[in-house]
Subunit: 336 residues, 2 copies
DNA sequence: TTGTATGCGTTATCAC
DNA sequence: GTGATAACGCATACAA
């Protein structure tokens, strides 16, 4: 038997469909007599009626769906964020439509088109390129958009980790261990996060009175272990630093690989610091010292911000605090 | 300006909306004159018209959305599966609506209700309890359902890893290293996967001519590192085996923790084998020997199966091959 | 308090 | 080959 509609309930309760709609709408309590309400509720329960979100969307022009755009769910930092988003949205009666861009601008544009065609009420975008026409366009059409880990301008809602503070803490930690030759392996230049963390690295180094040596800086082509390894191997071929700060934990894992492939030990020869505190980073070999960002919380806040935008609140920005998790991958400089 | 509708395109092209629909439908090529088609396509391009999936759903009664139900996206084994699903669905013009159950039967029931209210065309369910009324009901209503890692009966489409073969390979590997005292830490009894892997363990042990000692068997309350550690600590308090096979990799990570907390070394004192080959399992300390299941591929196949069901193919079942990844967490029994 | 009428965007089905 | 029409399920402004 097909799913019962509001019509079926109306027939069963001997009332008009509109009355069923009102009786079942908690916001309209008092506009229907208790007796009628009870009859309707009974009929609905008996038939197993669940209001069709689709019909509701059609009428209200609200789909209660949020498009969630991430670079790659396979990167362990994103699942906790997505869970935070999903839990918060579900509690509010919303659903998340998740899409992966693999950092491709073209793919992202397609996805946003598709998600728009599905009438998403808003977007949470955790995948931000520097030249993000598609996102700018979206914001300009008054669509609720929340950026994750990117502040665009004050008119756009966003939640981001305090990367500058994190980078300072990382550099200070390494300096306190005696390091002065500190490398940085960032991600793809096209992503805004890369620039933010790179700039944070530069100023943290300057604040510590250290020079940033150009030959100790490089960019992985993606935020993955493979590309991180390849990038750091290029650095090591030029000069071996005493420590490296990676653009994120996956790149840090790649740095582990690069060190191994050259017979260097971590942290005895080179200390490694990651970024994000992704799941399992504490179980790596060695356990990774990393700048912890509150992943689940970032997801929660992003969801809350997009719900706020939908409720016509002005766009807000949140900078969430980070903390350095000191583990086994960093140690004092060993004299040769 | 609001999103253009088919009406706007019709006006701009000087034709009827129905003609626009036909002209833009690749399946109906030839039913509209080339000249008209070109006029329509030009108007659509000029206005930036994208057919509204919502209106289409209303009319065709097909939402092109698939509900994807997983226990917890935070478990590293699921993101690759979900990516396989999502990539395949997107290529076919479908979208994935993802929901986490946290292994709660009640939550799963709610989610299925919600997803049904959103008119999902089908479901991929990777979260299967033994007593899964909600899923059985769903299947009975002729809704396309694909189970992941659970075979229910021959009438239900499913894709599962060949856990029996994997468990045999794990036991044989340990036996070849001289192990005879092999423990098993499974997951919650209520989940079907737990029973499957437990039974596979029993028969693999029998096939190797080994006794299964009841005091070396136990069940974690969840498939997490914390619960795995707690469960294995209980085993260790009774008797220390020379090896343990975990119900999945997160439990194996918990076993690492339990060994450490008792001052035992892996693999010198106790060898550990995991299940799933989740991301980063090769970067753990020590690198985890584990039964590898083709996660992305499982997702791809699950998506294909649900699309097949929607296309009215009969339900198919796929048993995907597994392979044992031998790494640092297993070694020969050391004589005391 | 309840019933009536309407429209959301699209496409299948008919009629021309 | 193209136009007209109806229908999908619901919520709301308006009428009774």
């Amino acid at each position: 038997m097909p799913k019962p509609t509001i019509q079926d309930v109306a027939r069963a309760a001997g009332v008009h469909p509109a009355t069923v709609s009102r009786a079942l709408n908690p916001a309209l309590v008092g506009r229907v007599t208790p007796a009628t309400t009870r009859r309707v509720e009974e009929a609905a329960a008996r038939l197993g009626y669940v209001p069709d979100e689709f019909g509701r969307t059609l009428r209200t022009r609200r789909s209660r769906m949020i498009g969630v755009v991430v670079p790659d769910l396979g990167n362990p930092v994103f699942p906790p964020i997505v869970r935070g988003i999903e839990d918060t949205l579900r509690t509010a009666g919303y659903a998340a439509l998740i899409a992966n861009t693999d950092d491709s601008a073209q793919r992202q544009e397609e996805l946003l088109r598709t998600l728009t065609a599905r009438r998403c009420d808003g977007f949470i975008i955790a995948s931000s390129r520097r030249d993000d026409r598609a996102v700018v366009d979206l914001v300009n059409t008054q669509t609720p958009v929340v950026l994750v880990n990117r502040l665009m301008d004050t008119a756009t809602a966003a939640v981001a980790s305090d990367d500058a503070a994190g980078m300072r803490a990382a550099v200070e930690h390494l300096v306190s261990l005696g390091h002065r030759e500190i490398a940085h392996v960032g991600g793809p230049e096209a992503l805004s996060m890369t620039g933010v963390r790179r700039a944070a690295f530069d100023s943290a180094m300057a604040a510590a009175g250290l020079e940033v040596s150009p030959e100790l800086i490089c960019a992985a082509r993606r935020y993955t272990a493979d590309e991180g390894q390849r990038a750091f191997e290029a650095v090591l071929a030029r000069r071996v630093p005493t420590a490296v700060i990676a653009g994120n934990d996956m790149i840090a894992v790649g740095c582990y690989g690069a060190l191994r492939s050259r017979g260097l030990r971590c942290p005895a020869d080179v200390s490694v610091v990651g970024f994000n505190n992704m799941p399992l980073s504490d179980f790596l070999d060695p356990a990774l010292t990393t700048v912890a960002i509150p992943q689940f919380d970032i997801g929660t806040q992003a969801a809350q911000l997009v719900l706020d935008l939908i409720a016509d609140h002005p766009p807000a920005q949140r900078l969430v605090p980070v903390s350095l998790m000191v583990r086994g991958s960093t140690g004092p400089v060993t004299c040769v």
